[in-house]
Symmetry: C2
Subunit: 496 residues, 2 copies
Amino acid sequence: MFEFAEVGQQIDKETYKTQLPELREALLEAQLDLFQTARFPVLILIGGIDGAGKGETVNKLNEWMDPRHIGTYAFDEQPSNEELLRPAMWRYWRAMPPKGQISIYFGSWYRALLLRHTRGEISDTELMQHMDGIVRFERMLVDEGVLLLKFWLHLSKDLQKERIEKLESSPKTRWRVTSEEKKGLKHYDDFKRAACMSLQATSLVEAPWTIVEGFDANYRNLTVGLHILKAMRERLDHPEKVPREFSVSPLLKAIDHVNPLERLDLGLKLDNKTYDTKLEQLQGKLNKLTRRPGFRKRGLICVFEGVDAAGKGGAIRRITQAIDSRIYRIIPISAPTDEELAQPYLWRFWRRIPPRGKIAIFDRSWYGRVLVERIEGFCKEYDWMRAYGEINDFEAQLVKQGYLVAKFWLQITPEEQLQRFEQRQNTPYKRFKITDEDWRNRDKWDNYQAAAHDMVDRTSTEIAPWTLVEANDKNHARIKILKTLCEMIEKSIQAA
Amino acid sequence: MFEFAEVGQQIDKETYKTQLPELREALLEAQLDLFQTARFPVLILIGGIDGAGKGETVNKLNEWMDPRHIGTYAFDEQPSNEELLRPAMWRYWRAMPPKGQISIYFGSWYRALLLRHTRGEISDTELMQHMDGIVRFERMLVDEGVLLLKFWLHLSKDLQKERIEKLESSPKTRWRVTSEEKKGLKHYDDFKRAACMSLQATSLVEAPWTIVEGFDANYRNLTVGLHILKAMRERLDHPEKVPREFSVSPLLKAIDHVNPLERLDLGLKLDNKTYDTKLEQLQGKLNKLTRRPGFRKRGLICVFEGVDAAGKGGAIRRITQAIDSRIYRIIPISAPTDEELAQPYLWRFWRRIPPRGKIAIFDRSWYGRVLVERIEGFCKEYDWMRAYGEINDFEAQLVKQGYLVAKFWLQITPEEQLQRFEQRQNTPYKRFKITDEDWRNRDKWDNYQAAAHDMVDRTSTEIAPWTLVEANDKNHARIKILKTLCEMIEKSIQAA
């Protein structure tokens, strides 16, 4: 893999001087087209061997282009404690470039893994499992329209040694050699081997690695610059090309024409007296559970979905009544803001992921992608089809990092919905809850049911299963939700 | 001040039960009106004596209203390291409610100061100085349209002791008594005295303190709830009332009709050879300065203002060329996003304040308020007039927390601007830089000059002075800027 990057590739000064002005002008032009059309973001990953000139190259890119529309992020540094309190990928999501902008990530999601492998903390198999996850993550970014460019700056072992010694020998450059780099020198072979495996596993058709020899600065910088130019130009000049647009195999409805969701026993009921007793008991239990030290090490993410008037809000209130208001946050999801529209779909949820020990309750959620967006045609079939897998990956990341993901689908009958709509219209302080849109959505009842069926079918995973809630009777629904939550938390604390 | 909050105020259960349903419904209704009209945000500060029931009251508020549109923040907790790396007020800005929403701040900007005073870390005078700053800050919030409600929950010394003992005696509630609270008991008198002084100093007409005795939960919760309801209702029902709309005394132009800005010697020039030598020398110096440990403890905020084509971008590039791209961020300021429009004016700048040790370069800035917004009538005279003081306060906070604030006004002649405009139109990769708006702005030349004059006049402070840059000659301008920056950093490092 690195054969051609250990041969001492270089270009002479003259060639560099001749080519540079043209490249700079073209890069600037491409960047401005990018900024003005704001059709897609550019994400540049810079990885590689220490001493191969990553920092210098990035500084050059900033110099050549307009640095006002470039964000440079050093992820080889230690995460902040706010980052440490959240899932590992959160720090990358918060730095994501909006459409029209460029972000450059040093190290990105590769470096920490490679170092952990080099230190013997994770095995080959574990490394490769991580790479599988990265492939799915990067494919999602590409599908979301991100132009993803990945550069690996390489140096042969001898050259790395030479370069570090040279930097160290001058008081002007000595500060640039960190102890980490000196350690890296020792583990060169291990690091190279891990990098080789990882780069091979993650070289996607849509986002291949470009390996660049770091020995000669002119060669290196020009190569990286030209690659970026070409990739940006290609994308800018061919807006009609969509990165991956497969023919999607359509989902089929159940052949007996009965949606299994409609088979739920919606006659389940709880009388008020039993409800009051159980409610008090379960709220007390939930309160205690959220104060247990074992819970504070985790975190809870609740998702509520269901048709209008299914009782999401009421159920959420029964949960929050039991919890200290300092540890939960309710996140109602409606239309995205313009800052959110300029980002990949999942960004708006990632920004709301709570730190560990806290609770986020999503009143509607990322499942909008496969519900309302699917039904209303806000996104293409290809987009909501791939969302099932992306959502499963997203939730798997959360669970892996210690979060509990509790998902509730509240099922009611159309008759019950109608009754609640009418009741809302007649109650002064509930009038706001009923809009023309609600009535329009009602007309698409069957579409919503079909979408909900597919959603549960494809995203009810072992680690983050859906709880189907018979919600025609509010008492029954609320108690079932509280009970499920308590059991989940209890189990997770015991398992820890 | 606390006389009426040590008398054991309470209400009987019957009264509570009778009044509550009506209050809840009215609160919910008010909150929904707030959300739907989204005209202003509500910020509720809850302070007080430990054990007076702050947490319980806030939980009740969340229960009574729709918690989906309430954000509850516990600022009595330790700041995160990302917060510690920024000016003290940053953590409050990032939690600020957008229009239509409610945020509840525990502790807020008062608690830490009161505790420091109680521990003897700051004197009475220092405490009062802080309170002066708070008054200006809160007045700004009020002027920005925030409905600011401040509650202080009080308990007499005996009752505090009694309450803490009671909590401690039961295993069910023991966890709620922190060691801090037990310490608080010892310093009751000091804390009460500091609170008394502080509350008096910060009881504004537009945002008075409401002192509520915390002894009886029903009395306390009902009182707080009723106050919130009344304040919200008043504001919702009288959209025509603006919190403070004074008659503004108009700014006068210089009586000799010569704008002092136009007296700058715009004939100042630097030949290319001298420029090249000085540029290299100053960039080298700047690079070294930004690597000094003394700099890493501070932080640098640069502001560039000037008419179109004054050379802001070029000057910024000469700075960034000298610095590692990992430590600076350029922030071009154009139209605000919709998330920014839903916040007080300074929010969009606060969210971009860099952590200590890093550099933020604002290409246009908060001074837009007194330049373009003033000239184009995007805000009222009262708003841009108060902005001078608000900006001075904002920058004073930054400087006080160790940041350097370097502000550059680039002055050119109208003839020079015309020439640059024409040149831009004839250069392919600069064409984007010239828009119809630029030509329109040019027609308002005199207005811009007058506004710039007033800006420099009113915001060039000792701690954050404006540097006026003669910018008809780009060489001269860039060198002057680099030189000024280097001197500022050097001086600050030496002073440290």
